[in-house]
């Protein structure tokens, strides 16, 4: 899940701060400091009052009316025209496509519920496709991975997940590529959709689910639709980017020959953007896998269900077994689409070792083998359903379970004392600082901070977000989530600075770490919960650690890029004036990479928030818990929906505030930069 490609306002240096920057800076610090002092004093005298706590099973009027709305939708689904003519046919269409793929790869709807092309046929066909779009290596990887799913006893589940991913990716591309082309060709379209995409990408995966389940019912259709919404931004962005970034001189040359708009698109823009578009497909596919697994919460079949059930029953062994499949599937999808993007590079096919002719012959020959295997699968039972006696899944499950038990008992001292130390030493105090401060005081403090960071406009946005959260009746839960998010983000930033500086300073470290970070970013969110569940048990702490690990790669990468982008002349000047490495880092590199740091904090926050919410599955409380409870208990549906909304507004608030912090250049940075120009 790498959503790094966001056309954020580029790091601005320049005239913004020329107007009396010193005064502005000191005032900003003053206000922030003042707000902090007011908060602490207020907490000392007023703590425990006006906390707006709402016990887990209690509802507000708003939640009850949302419940009623849910009931109303349920009873009017059949004859309301909007449902009759829009939602229901849409659902039917998506369901039809999803069921087609499910029938082919996972389970047909008839008889023994065997897949149409059996496991052997599936392995053969998918490997062949991997070969056709990529190369022999990724084809082998595909075959190995799918056979391994069989050995794990999870072939059908993996096939379900794969079928849903394929369906979602298909729809996403069908919508996303034309939209991206439009945005690339017409600046006006880009202007309209970019903020929408920005907004979509700040939403945690979780929050799409409840509203979609309300409209489209639970099951594959709503899972696919949620996934399409979640996975569309990268491909739209990258397509638009590829189309727009055609070199000016090629474009001019083509115009000078009298091309029409269409001709330009077909002969110039699309061929030159091909590679970028396929990279977009890669990102979209990874995002789709991430969402399809989480959509298990609204009854999407597949590996996600296995993981969620295991998490809920704290069955670490099963969770690890299924989590492993998800990771493997992620690797396969990533490698195949990456190989495809290499092939799409202009001129790739002339560097091939084998000629185009030979390749076609090879493809045709192997296709025949695939067809034979498919035919075999349709006639022989052993080739249709993966043989049960080859199942090593239970062995993995019990092995992991006992390992986890061993770890938990033998590392007890370490894991538990570490967990408790952090929980009692940092987490609890900070959380109670947030939850026990009277809400009006905290609102005032946050709005004041927003004003200091971004002026009236940001203060107004912040006040609105907080007001909505209060209105939703979930103030206290929001503060619990906020506490976890902020603590985790702080750790993420520490990691980001340490590793980012190391990577930015040494290309060797960079080369070593980058593949790991890339791999980390492609994993679906809640796979991260599994190993830490094994170590630390089901607590808030586990969710926070998972959030840290999940968000760290983004933060590290952005920081490293920021450090590496500092002009070598500035570095040379600093070194030649006799600075120690430590001085170079603290006096030159970090201040100059300030904006990257702020951007890293921004992205880190959004990733952490997404994860802390998902962490509800392993015992993190707060808004995430309300959302999950809403899926499980229909009486809590309204509260869950409200919690989803609260997450959205919390996300907007954090996003805007960190963006404002990033957009305000400090004077010191400017003066350090100017000699470089």
């Amino acid at each position: 899940m790498s959503t790094l490609v966001r056309d954020r306002a580029p790091v601005q240096t320049g005239l913004v701060s020329v107007r009396a920057p010193r005064k502005r800076l000191s005032r900003r610090t003053l206000i922030l400091g003042g707000a902090g002092v007011v908060w602490l004093i207020g907490f000392l005298f007023l703590h425990g009052t006006a906390t707006l706590t709402l016990p887990a099973s209690e509802l507000t009027d708003l939640h009850r009316s949302l419940n009623q709305f849910n009931a109303w939708v349920a009873s009017n689904r059949a004859d309301n025209p909007v449902f009759q003519y829009v939602f229901t046919p849409l659902r039917a269409a998506v369901d039809a496509v999803a069921n087609l793929f499910i029938g082919i790869f996972a389970a047909s709807s008839t008889g023994l519920r065997l897949p149409e092309i059996g496991w052997l046929g599936t392995v053969a066909l998918l490997s062949w496709i991997a070969f056709a779009v990529g190369n022999a290596r990724v084809a082998l990887l595909t075959a190995a991975a799918f056979v391994f799913f069989g050995l794990q006893g999870l072939f059908v589940e993996a096939a379900y997940t794969f079928a849903l991913v394929i369906t979602a990716v298909l729809f996403t591309l069908l919508i996303g590529i034309p939209l991206g082309v439009l945005a690339g060709v017409y600046g006006r379209v880009a202007k309209v959709i970019t903020p929408v995409l920005d907004f979509m990408q700040t939403l945690p995966t979780f929050v799409y689910l409840a509203p979609l389940a309300l409209i489209f019912l639970i099951g594959p259709a709503s899972a696919v639709i949620a996934t399409v919404i979640y996975a569309a931004p990268p491909v739209i962005r990258l397509t638009a980017h590829g189309i727009r970034c055609i070199p000016e001189n090629t474009r001019e040359a083509s115009d000078s020959l009298g091309t029409t708009g269409w001709q330009r698109l077909l002969t110039l823009q699309l061929p030159l953007a091909r590679r970028t578009i396929v990279m977009g497909i890669n990102q979209t596919t990874m995002a789709a896998l991430s969402m399809v697994t989480i959509a298990a919460l609204i009854a999407a079949p597949g590996l996600g269900q296995v993981v969620i059930r295991a998490l809920q029953s704290l069955d670490v062994g099963t969770a690890v077994n299924a989590g492993l499949s998800i990771v493997l599937l992620a690797i396969v999808l990533d490698r195949v689409t990456t190989a495809a993007s290499r092939r799409a590079e202009p001129g790739a096919n002339r560097k091939r070792r084998i000629s185009r002719r030979t390749r076609y012959i090879l493809l045709a020959a192997t296709l025949l083998v695939v067809l034979a295997m498919v035919q075999l699968s349709r006639t022989m039972l052993w080739a249709a359903a993966f043989p049960k006696d080859l199942n090593i899944g239970p062995a993995i499950v019990s092995g992991v379970s006992s390992a986890s038990e061993w770890l938990q008992t033998n590392l007890f001292l370490f894991t538990v004392s570490f967990r408790e130390a952090v929980t009692n030493g940092i987490l609890n105090p900070f959380q109670s600082l947030l939850t026990e401060t009277p809400f009006y005081l905290l609102v005032a403090v946050i709005v004041l901070a927003a004003f200091a960071l971004g002026g009236w406009k940001l203060a107004a946005v912040t006040a609105t977000c907080l007001a909505v959260i209060i209105y939703l009746g979930l103030w206290s839960d929001s503060m619990v989530t906020l506490a976890g998010t902020l603590v985790a983000t702080a750790v993420v930033m520490v990691l980001g600075v340490i590793f980012g500086v190391a990577m930015g300073r040494s290309s060797k470290v960079d080369q070593l770490m980058r593949p790991m970070l890339d791999a980390g970013q492609t994993m679906p969110a809640f796979v991260y919960l599994v190993p830490f569940l094994g170590l630390f048990g089901a607590t808030r702490f586990t969710a926070i650690i998972a959030g840290i690990i999940y968000a760290a790669p983004v933060a590290i990468k952005i920081t490293a890029d920021g450090i590496a982008a500092i002009s070598p002349t500035v570095m040379e000047a600093a070194v030649s004036s006799g600075s120690t490495p430590w001085q170079v880092i603290t006096k030159v590199q970090l201040p100059m990479a300030r904006q990257s740091l702020a951007l890293a904090a921004n992205q880190g926050l959004i990733y952490v928030l997404a994860m802390v919410v998902v962490g509800a599955l392993v015992g993190a409380g707060g808004l995430g818990y309300d959302v999950v409870a809403g899926f499980v208990q229909s009486s809590l549906f309204g509260k869950g929906l409200a919690a989803g909304l609260a997450i959205v507004f919390l996300g907007i608030l954090l996003d805007r505030m960190t963006q404002a912090a990033a957009a305000n250049p400090v004077r010191k940075v400017l003066s350090a930069k100017s000699p470089a120009h």
């Binding site: 001189n249 090629t250 040359a253 000078s256 020959l257 002969t267 030159l272 202009p346 001129g347």
Partner: protein, 344 residues
């Protein structure tokens, strides 16, 4: 030379917001570029230009970097939309053309060769050359047949299946030239086509253009900032500064009678004996010159006259369209050569 192929009248291009008002405003349009930029924030890249290009002529536009050459040549096919004025091609105003007509003009009448080649990296040499034909809807075998001819003409035979990044800069520009020629346009526009090439290859390519011009006789508008290139290729040369014409004439005119100090500086390093003709150094016929002295035409380049003058014992007579206009002797030739050496 027959009726003009291209004729440009009162052409303006002003970059920047509100630029369209400037040509019409007598006060603003009288300002210098620097003042204009300061007053309005607009950049007048082409200011009130007027010139004609005859059929079959090689017309060179010259000027320093930023003088507006590229803008001017792009205005001819409206790759850059002119602010005001008119551009007549075969008597029709390009400024009035609709999108369809404009496309036809670009497809059949005028094609362009670019400084940075502008080749399509995903297409082979063959497909790059045939790109223009494909755009105008020629059938595949027709356009490939034509492109093979052109590729041979520009000296790239054997490279049809190569991709641009496998070729040297000079060869890439040959592809660019081939692409422009493939559509058999009446006019070819060159925007500093050889300035990205190294000197030896540049010389080859200039020879190539001269050869093609001789073989095909196309009208050419050639932008360069290199005076020797201009003198070598151009029938006539237009010198631009800050978007305005400073002087327009044959190379001979520019070197012999520069319009102002700017051009005088510009041409001061030119080897004058190679450029000037006899008419610039002709003295009145002296009393003692014999009537049977050798006769040379006034259009002879001075360097070409050297053997005759040196081998003759008496001054040499100069004739212009059948009439004796004066004489030259060793001294007059030597003084030209000496002034060149001093300047160099």
């Amino acid at each position: 030379m027959s009726s003009p192929d291209i004729s440009v009248r009162n052409l303006w291009k002003v970059f920047g917001p509100g630029g369209e008002k400037i040509p019409k405003d007598p006060e603003l349009s009288a300002l210098s570029s620097a003042e204009l930029l300061e007053r309005t924030g607009c950049n007048a890249a082409v200011r009130d230009m007027n010139f004609d290009v005859a059929k079959g002529e090689v017309f060179v536009v010259m000027g320093l970097s930023g003088s507006g050459k590229s803008t001017l040549i792009r205005c001819l096919t409206r790759l850059i939309e002119p602010t005001s004025g008119s551009v007549l091609v075969d008597g029709k105003d390009v400024m009035q053309a609709g999108t369809g007509e404009l496309r036809e003009l670009r497809r059949r009448k005028m094609s362009m060769v670019f400084q940075h080649f502008g080749l399509l990296p995903h297409r082979t040499v063959l497909d790059n050359v045939s790109y223009g034909l494909q755009i105008r809807g020629a059938a595949k075998n027709e356009r490939y047949a034509r492109s093979h001819e052109i590729i041979e003409l520009v000296g790239l035979k054997g490279y049809e299946q190569h991709f641009p990044d496998q070729l040297s800069g000079g060869m890439q520009q040959r592809v660019g030239l081939g692409r422009a020629l493939a559509g058999d346009p009446d006019t070819i526009l060159f925007d500093e086509p050889f300035s990205a090439l190294d000197p030896l290859i540049r010389r080859d390519m200039q020879a190539e253009v001269i050869r093609l011009h001789k073989e095909m006789g196309k009208t050419m508008v050639f932008v360069t900032h290199d005076l020797s290139e201009a003198l070598k290729l151009g029938d006539r040369i237009l010198i631009m500064r800050n978007g305005e014409t400073v002087q327009c004439g044959t190379g001979d005119d520019l070197v012999g009678s520069p319009a102002d100090k700017y051009i005088a500086d510009f041409v001061s390093e030119v080897p004058r004996a190679d450029v000037l003709t006899l008419k610039w150094i002709t003295d009145p016929v002296a009393f003692g010159t014999p009537a049977d002295a050798p006769v040379l035409s006034a259009g002879t380049i001075i360097r070409d006259a050297i053997p005759t003058v040196m081998n003759s014992l008496c001054p040499v007579l100069v004739e212009d369209s059948g009439k004796i206009t004066g004489q030259i002797d060793r001294d007059s030739i030597l003084s030209v050569i000496r002034s060149t050496e001093v300047a160099a």
